[in-house]
Symmetry: C2
Subunit: 338 residues, 2 copies
Amino acid sequence: MKIIVDCQGGDNSPAAEVEGALLALRENKELRVILVGDETAIRGILDARNIKSRRISVVHAPDVVTGNDRPTDAIRLKKDSSMIRAIRMLREDDSIDALVSNGATGVLVAAATLRIGRIEGVRRPALCPIIPDMYGGVIGVCDSGANIEVTAEMLQQFAIMGSRYLEAFRGIREPRVGLLNVGVEEEKGDDLRREAYKLLAKTPGINFVGNMEAREALSGDYDLVVCDGFSGNVLCKSIEGTALEVMKRLKRDIYSKKKYQMGALLMKKMFEEEKEFMNYLNYGGCVLLGTEKVIVKGHGSSDRVATKVSIAQACRVLRGGMNDKILESLKQCEQEAV
Amino acid sequence: MKIIVDCQGGDNSPAAEVEGALLALRENKELRVILVGDETAIRGILDARNIKSRRISVVHAPDVVTGNDRPTDAIRLKKDSSMIRAIRMLREDDSIDALVSNGATGVLVAAATLRIGRIEGVRRPALCPIIPDMYGGVIGVCDSGANIEVTAEMLQQFAIMGSRYLEAFRGIREPRVGLLNVGVEEEKGDDLRREAYKLLAKTPGINFVGNMEAREALSGDYDLVVCDGFSGNVLCKSIEGTALEVMKRLKRDIYSKKKYQMGALLMKKMFEEEKEFMNYLNYGGCVLLGTEKVIVKGHGSSDRVATKVSIAQACRVLRGGMNDKILESLKQCEQEAV
């Protein structure tokens, strides 16, 4: 198993990526990594720890892609950036299985979509982040922003790809799929949603349970929500923002009175555990589904542990044979449609 | 000031509406109400309290519109329902200024859009609920579901109507308007969002501050978010769902250990205040903007206090001359565009 790690573009680069890769190597003896970025900086971190391993190789690509780069410009002009170089190596080198990057999402998605082949039959790759629900489970959201405009067939493919992903990554059996909509009744929403509902209801290999309102996303009743990238983005970000703001507000409340502070002291461990529970860094990165090779977009704010989780996530998805299973499901779907 | 109150279709009808109207009458001496619904039931509540007031009239319309009714069917077939009758009276009787209903949103919006005239120049009426942010302010969301598909010009009108509404209802000066989008940069999103951005940037009479990500909805940096009805619906419901689920989770945590329960006991008042703070019933109903008469859709779960708040909300919007100001702003906007 060989994974290429983009060591630039994150908030804590390159330390987070280099140290995250070291943690991942320690946990998985079959793993080899290629670290791409500023060679001096990367070697500096390795040398400081006196690490010499044949399982690590370093590729020099000093330029950095940032969130301010237009995707098309970055792909054309920043060929010496770690991200674009990593994408090129992923395409050209058959021995490399996956890429992990904490860099700019927009550029990564565009470069991967343009440069890495798609699984046969896939119309458009889609992003699928994982959000903890409030009952110990998780919910995948597909698509969360790679495709602002979608068709019913694309939504159908998101359901298939997301289902195979949750099985491989989280071991969820027959993930319960909901179609994000403004109401639960079949005829709700616009033509796109009504068409998608009909299509999903007869799609083999998925466990479609019907329309889902955004209110139910964390209820534990769904494993995967299928949506266009615009509303998926709104869903993910409003869940994240609301959870953060509620916790911030409670904290402010607590500091407003001595009595509350005393109460909170007794609940210290509980609040710490909640903080850890709500820390999205613990849940891995966001996988781009539909490309021939596995691509994991880690959070920009990833530290070394979060980066290790993203690398381990890529390993698990590879081991689960996700892409073969997506291919198989898409073929089955096509056959039944004929 | 004369307001018609639909006394059916809510979870607590007709008591919530009749008693809510009585509370509103007590607070506002200029107010008169028409209670529409099952006359026996309404008179029963009034008689039990020995209420005889010339400021109250009762209209018998026994049929009930429910959430399961298709809007077009309800409008055509349920002419004797309190909601459809109330809409007809609102249209035909010039002395009636506003309607408050806790009934089915879809039917109310459809009936109002079809039967009540629009303010001159308005393309489509839009729903604008109010959500508390976490800093003592509120944010209006327009549209939250009346218009699943929109144009850039409609988004521009939502910004104008929502701004005049927040001024009249909440006294907010120059409400800060954000365009819901997948990123803050001007070129983010699809063609619709880019076109709307340009249009909003040059719209007179609004304080447009740029694109807003869903993560920032409760940050206190915005007073109004403008969006299509689909993503607005996702935004509102995911905020509501997440806040509820987080609080439920904390409650479960607390009950898991004696020590936490002791801590929570010290914080009892704080949690009670938070519960009250997050209770959306305290913030009034959802106004349908753009119709010639004021229409307030109360929550289905409204009790008498919530219904009183919705009636008072209608009064405040009327007193603030909202519709005249919307008309004025739309004209100004049209003139500058010429």
